[in-house]
């Protein structure tokens, strides 16, 4: 009986991880394709329909919220993950600055300010989210 319940838990773990991973892949792919098509009109939409990908993202996103986050089995790497997250957030913020500037450069000098501020907002919001997540994790442990 115990054996069965353990096996069931393992399958559930794989399923949960898969759904969360599909969501991540679908979201990143959709955003990437959207940006590519926005930058090079028709590059994606002349060859692919991206709406189904949006549906996959939405459905797996909702499922991810419903099944809850992945539970880490490796506590030793928490510090390392946090460092990686900071790197990722920084790169994302810089990329956002570059992209927003590229899209609105026609407005003139104001484009510098808007893009830098946008990047800063993305960076700060991301840090806020990570800290919130870490606090939740600590509460769970207590």
């Amino acid at each position: 009986m115990l054996l069965h319940s353990t096996r069931y838990e393992i399958i559930l773990r794989i399923l949960r991880s898969t759904i969360i991973e599909i969501f991540k892949v679908a979201l990143v792919t959709y955003l990437l394709l959207y940006l590519l098509n926005d930058t090079f009109p028709g590059f994606v939409t002349d060859n692919l329909r991206i709406i189904p990908l949006l549906w996959i993202t939405l459905i797996t996103g909702m499922l991810s919220i419903w099944i809850g986050p992945e539970k880490s089995t490796d506590n030793s790497s928490v510090q390392q993950i946090r460092f990686k997250e900071y790197i990722f957030i920084s790169v994302l913020s810089l990329a956002s600055i570059a992209f927003i500037y590229y899209r609105i450069q026609a407005v003139g000098k104001l484009a510098y300010m808007i893009s830098i501020l946008s990047g800063l907002i993305i960076f700060l919001l991301s840090i806020l989210l990570i800290n919130e997540q870490n606090n939740d994790d600590e509460i769970d442990k207590v």
Binding site: I10, R13, I14, E21, V25, V28, L32, F43, D46, R49
Partner: protein, 576 residues
């Protein structure tokens, strides 16, 4: 137990890791796919448009039909979608990521009312369309009797009438018709005499039995043979023109004018002609077309008076075009500038009938024609002007009567000036021109009739040809083989040759395709790179036909990207 848990937990982590790798490969594969579609390194780019789901790369798919007829139609009980086409042409633009050297367009359709011709049109740089046959459906060719034996080589078909079998069929058909008529008479007579329904039914049954018996008695077994074993054999030993019919097949190269010999001396036509004329001449194999025209502008009407000389070959292609511009005087002042000479020389031509169209207005005079062709005749119109009315342009010419010859069966003539009302001698008759600008019609009974005008200044019009000597006339249809579409009874002919592109079948649908190559395959470089195509359906709307279109696919091709091509491109860039 703990060991089991640890082991299974490790396995689960491995499975999750594999799933992660596979999932993260997906965007890479999608990116590779998109790069392949954009750069087309393997040389083939396929666009498929179906009327239900469309295609992002196909734009403006529409025909000139009313809005209510555009859209997919779904007959109750059927799930097959199609677009109902009632107007021609059907337009569609295809967006391509880069120019291609070749495109094969495939149409999936139904042709319930046998639209005869389906063509692919592709827009050229000058906005004109080049056409390519996709499919033919000729009712005559599709309903030939079984005594027509067919052979095929690619899109070329040859039907040969098995004469022995055909004659047997005809004989038996006569017997069948005669016996059936007698039987019909008997039935009519008996039905009049019959009083009850049973009696009538018995007569009907007996009639059916007898008719079946007649059909059996007059059945013909296949016998006899056809003379040619292949299409090449037929073309190598081409039968007389009267026995042959064609459909989309040019046989002009196979029929020469019997007994034709080129002239060694020049022919001079020293008669002044006015306005537009069309000259027909015959050229032997390897001979040159050699004409020289002296033209002059009379400037009686305002506006430009240019003259265009177009040489049209036996296939209908324009071989040469010369535009002689206005003499510089566009006023209606009657001022005559100096004569101009226009030479037309096309060396080493294949044999056949050639046309020279002199397209101009009535201010332009053709004062003299010198040619090394000795068969020279004018189609439809000859406007003779050696008269003192035009003294300013024809100068001190001797105004003597002119005799011309025509093979027309109907002749019309008029003069524009009261001073030149005259009596024409047409064959053995005198025809009076009694008032200016009034056409006088005459029916001609002779194969060739002479026409003599005493004063000239007369426009002669006929349904045949005019020449200045009898031996300049010839049969311009010598190389023309009658088209299947112009024939009332195809069984009057023994051979039919046709370029007859046939669609393939896929269930209830027909699949027709055509290939177009550069430079005819032109890409419009606007904000997008577009190739403009049409599906052209000649005489479609007039005949009230419909076509059901399900799918169009376009297969673009270019040479694949090889290492040597990449290298040569790099070298090219470096050299730049």
């Amino acid at each position: 137990m703990l060991k089991f848990w640890t082991n299974n937990n490790d396995k689960a982590s491995t499975v999750i890791r594999v799933i992660r790798i596979v999932l993260w490969l997906a965007p890479i594969v999608i990116l590779m796919f998109l790069l392949n579609r954009h750069y087309v390194p393997f040389g083939t780019y396929i666009v498929k448009y179906d009327v239900q789901n469309g295609s992002p790369a196909v734009r403006n798919f529409a025909s000139k039909e009313p809005d209510r007829l555009i859209g997919t139609k779904n007959i109750p009980g059927e799930t097959d979608y199609f677009q109902l086409i009632t107007m021609s042409p059907l337009y569609f633009d295809v967006k391509a990521p880069r120019p291609f050297a070749k495109a094969t367009v495939t149409l999936k359709y139904q042709n319930p009312q046998s639209q005869e011709v389906v063509q692919l049109g592709v827009q050229q740089s000058n906005a004109a369309y080049a056409y390519y046959p996709m499919a033919y459906a000729n009712s005559t060719l599709n309903s030939l009797g079984d005594y027509w034996q067919v052979m095929q080589s690619g899109d070329v078909y040859l039907w040969q009438k098995n004469i022995e079998y055909f004659q047997n069929v005809q004989n038996e058909k006569k017997i069948y018709d005669s016996r059936k008529k007698k039987l019909d008479d008997w039935k009519t007579k008996q039905l009049k005499l019959a009083t009850t329904n049973d009696q009538k039914q018995t007569i009907e049954n007996q009639y059916s039995q007898e008719l079946d018996q007649i059909s059996q008695d007059t059945q013909v077994d296949k016998s006899g043979s056809v003379p040619f074993s292949s299409i090449n054999d037929f073309l190598g030993h081409i039968p007389p023109r009267e026995q042959v019919a064609q459909y989309n097949y040019d046989l002009s190269a196979y029929y020469e004018l019997p007994g034709y010999k080129p002239s060694k001396e020049a022919t001079e036509i020293n008669h002044s002609l006015r306005g537009k004329h069309e000259i027909y001449t015959y050229i032997g194999d390897g001979e040159s077309l050699n004409f020289s025209f002296v033209v002059q502008d009379i400037n009686r009407h305002a506006g430009e008076d240019s003259i265009t000389f177009s040489v049209i070959g036996p296939t209908g292609a324009i071989l040469k075009k010369i535009i002689e511009p206005d003499d510089g005087d566009t006023n209606a002042d009657g001022h005559v500038n100096s004569e101009r000479v226009v030479d037309l020389l096309l060396p080493d031509l294949p044999h056949g009938v050639y046309r020279i169209v002199l397209d101009t207005n009535d201010d332009m005079f053709i004062k003299k024609i010198v040619t090394f062709q000795h068969l020279v005749m004018f189609k439809g119109i000859l406007y003779l002007t050696d008269n003192s009315e035009y003294k300013s342009i024809v100068g001190d010419r001797q105004f003597s009567p002119t005799t011309v010859y025509t093979n027309s069966s109907i002749l019309s003539a008029y003069t524009s000036h009261d001073a030149n009302l005259q009596t024409l001698r047409v064959g053995t008759r005198n025809i009076e021109l009694t008032s200016a600008n009034e056409l006088v019609d005459v029916t001609l009974n002779q194969p060739i009739t002479s026409i003599t005008t005493s004063k000239n200044d007369v426009s002669l019009q006929g349904n045949g040809y005019f020449a200045f000597t009898k031996d300049q006339l010839f049969d311009p249809n010598i190389s023309l083989v009658v088209s299947v579409n112009d024939i009332t009874n195809i069984d009057d002919y023994d051979f039919i040759i046709a370029t007859y592109t046939q669609p393939a079948s896929e269930g209830d649908w027909l699949i027709a395709s055509a290939t177009v190559e550069a430079p005819q395959l032109f890409f419009d470089k606007g904000s997008d790179l577009l190739a403009h195509f049409i599906i052209n359906l000649p005489n479609f709307h007039e005949s009230g036909k419909i076509l059901k279109v399900k799918e169009i696919s376009i297969n673009f091709e270019k040479p694949p990207l090889t290492l040597s091509r990449i290298w040569s491109k790099i070298i090219g860039l470096v050299n730049k």
